[in-house]
Symmetry: C2
Subunit: 409 residues, 2 copies
């Protein structure tokens, strides 16, 4: 069989991350090395929508120096979309999508996204196969949720975790200054990986966060309030990390129970981010029931994935490598797959290696925060998590210090 | 008259800033140079409350290397308080406060805080004078609100402005990725300086923020909605910067009008920060009335003053210098005053100089965002503001880049 050659196309899908453009630029720069095989590289605007709207930009006509700056820029440089390739309402019919690939003679399709995107890539690949159209399809992982199967962690997570950790390091000292109860709501619809990153801010006992709640454990309002009361009594203050995805004992999202507005997207997910409702609800309950006077809630919001002022150099490197790897695989004998990042074992310190698995393996299901990292009582994270997550934050994390509390007699 | 010598005391008051400990440590390190005059230096825990509770730590017994780390740590290292020295409810009676100063033979009182703190320092000074008790009282400025009279800008502002700018740089690219309307609520009860910092994120027309609202201009909901609609039509998206202190046409805080819970502090200010209510209210209106589907609101919250992962080196330097200056003034012939920061004129580039003014001059009144920086229509900031604020952000601001939009034919 002759080696496949021809036009390539790449898209960024779903919510962006701080390093998603490292993956894009990694793929572009690697493709430059294989112009004989990948003869053109098109960038689809607005994720999968660019295919349907036939809006592509020419990625072989980019300035290399500018590309390196684009890599360091947050957000999806190609722009993105929440639309799924599927047969539901507000979705992009897979047949229509595949038709564009075939009509435009696209032979290499790279899709940067989460589990949904891997699933979509698989669907498209199958339709092309059914039509006996040769195409290579590779999925490049990204998600700040860190919930992709088959991976030790996912590009985008390290930088988001770094932001959350740095936020709690500062908020701990802010709350130390003025005391009271502070509740911070963290992204992560179904998995507690990002919320768990708040644990890395805890230098030692007594430092924030004093309580951590992840979606993997149900939580009643009574339990929440009694935990906050205990922590407040013990430490004279309490900083609480709460995942936006926490669920009540009946498994229903708290956010759903209290949302005034239930905006749904095409994945039928209810809006969790971009609203302060959950944090305000919890704060109002602490204030009203526990009679604590200074109670504040912040929803860390989109800064977690987009804050321009900081990112993990480790995350950026891995994101770039994952993009490059997808192109290397595409010009090899492989037909399709999802690039993976695994942690090397039997090495001193942290190192990682790239791999590839069938698209099926990462599609649909998600990888929850592992039970071994969650405390027995379900309101804290265990120290083992530090070993897992610390290397992903990268270099140059802030270090804090306190005064020697030598009291005057 | 013999030169005053004896015990010194220092406190941090009000909301902390990212660099408030630079001022504290600057003062401590400078005091070390004058141990013959300032024979001891006590740090009051919890702002003015430490005097009443007689909780002081010994600042001459601190490790110097640790102090440099403390300087870089967010939050108030001595801890702080919102309590005012005054005769209102929940306040600390000035006579009681002055009595402690006299009883403990404190001859140098340094107060790090905003305009309220300068006012409090003045009250205390007067009581001591009435009692013929010799004491030197110096106010060291800090406020992220940047609203202190007599100053070009205030320690704490540069770092908060840097955070806001970096947040909008990233959020601009996030909103570019997925479009829709994004509303970000920014701290600043009475002055728009911090909200105006969002303007520095706008690289050129079309970049976020597309609209900026400060407390200095009243804003009706109708005007807000019509502005958002226009921006959304023009740019296909809209990122909006809104001060938490925006007021309706009748001069009443929007936050007050919509707050479900009106928690008040001892200054009788209603709670503006630590709740998502204002952002959610605006977002719900945009969604319901303008029928725009993707509408999000983030309240940037306490990260603006406490985020550990970044700060302005310029701000840190000036904060440290202001702390040192207060001590230098105290060991000079001066009796009292508030340290000021002014911009040097007739120099190439940015430079600043420290000065001192009577406490009266910075007490009570605030300095609103100057009218020359606000657009005629009251929904934007003028380019001149860039010249003012850019140098305060410090070195190493993130630079972003976009792809060349060379469309495939």
């Amino acid at each position: 069989m002759a080696k496949l050659k021809g036009r390539g196309a790449i898209a960024q899908s779903g919510g962006p991350t701080r390093v998603i453009n490292h993956s894009l630029v990694g793929a572009i720069l690697e493709a430059y090395n294989h112009e004989d095989t990948i003869t053109e590289l098109w960038g689809s605007l607005q994720g999968p929508e660019g295919f349907i709207n036939q809006e592509f930009i020419d990625l072989y006509k980019q300035d290399r120096v500018n590309l390196l700056r684009v890599a360091r820029t947050p957000g999806a440089a190609l722009s993105s979309s929440r639309k799924k390739i599927g047969n539901g309402e507000k979705q992009i019919p897979p047949e229509q999508f595949a038709e564009v690939l075939m009509k435009k003679q696209i032979r290499f399709f790279f899709y940067i996204g989460g589990g949904d995107s891997a699933d979509n890539a698989l669907t498209v690949k199958k339709i092309c196969q059914d039509n006996k159209y040769d195409i290579k399809v590779f999925h490049i992982p990204k998600t700040i949720d860190n919930d992709l199967l088959e991976n030790d962690h996912t590009p985008g997570y390290g930088s988001a975790a770094r932001f959350v950790t740095s936020a709690f390091i500062g908020d701990d000292r802010d709350n130390f200054s003025l005391r009271g109860v502070k509740i911070n709501v963290i992204m992560g619809r179904n998995a507690g990986w990002l919320t768990a990153a708040s644990y890395l801010a805890r230098k030692q006992e007594g430092y924030a966060p004093h309580l951590i709640y992840v979606p993997e454990r149900s939580l009643t309002l009574d339990k929440f309030l009694s935990d906050v009361e205990s922590a407040y009594k013990k430490f004279g203050r309490a900083v609480v990390a709460v995942s936006e995805g926490i669920r009540d004992a009946d498994g229903v999202l708290w956010a759903k129970k209290i949302a005034e507005v239930e905006e749904t997207d095409s994945h039928n997910n209810i809006q969790l981010s971009g609203t302060g409702t959950l944090g305000d609800f919890l704060a109002n309950n602490v204030r009203a029931i526990l009679k604590i006077s200074r109670v504040r809630a912040d929803t860390l919001g989109y800064l977690q994935r987009s804050y321009a002022g900081d990112y993990s150099d480790q995350d950026a490197k891995e994101a770039g490598d994952a993009g490059r790897e997808a192109v290397k695989l595409a010009v090899s004998d492989m037909q399709s797959g999802s690039v993976t990042i695994r942690r090397k074992e039997d090495v001193i310190g942290y190192d990682y290696e790239l791999g590839v698995v069938p698209l099926e393996n990462v599609a649909r299901e998600i990888r929850p925060l592992e039970a071994k990292y969650i405390s027995e009582e379900g309101n804290d994270i265990k120290p083992e998590f530090d070993d897992y997550a610390r290397p992903l934050l990268g270099k140059g994390m802030p270090e804090i210090a306190i005064l020697d509390m030598i009291m005057v007699k």
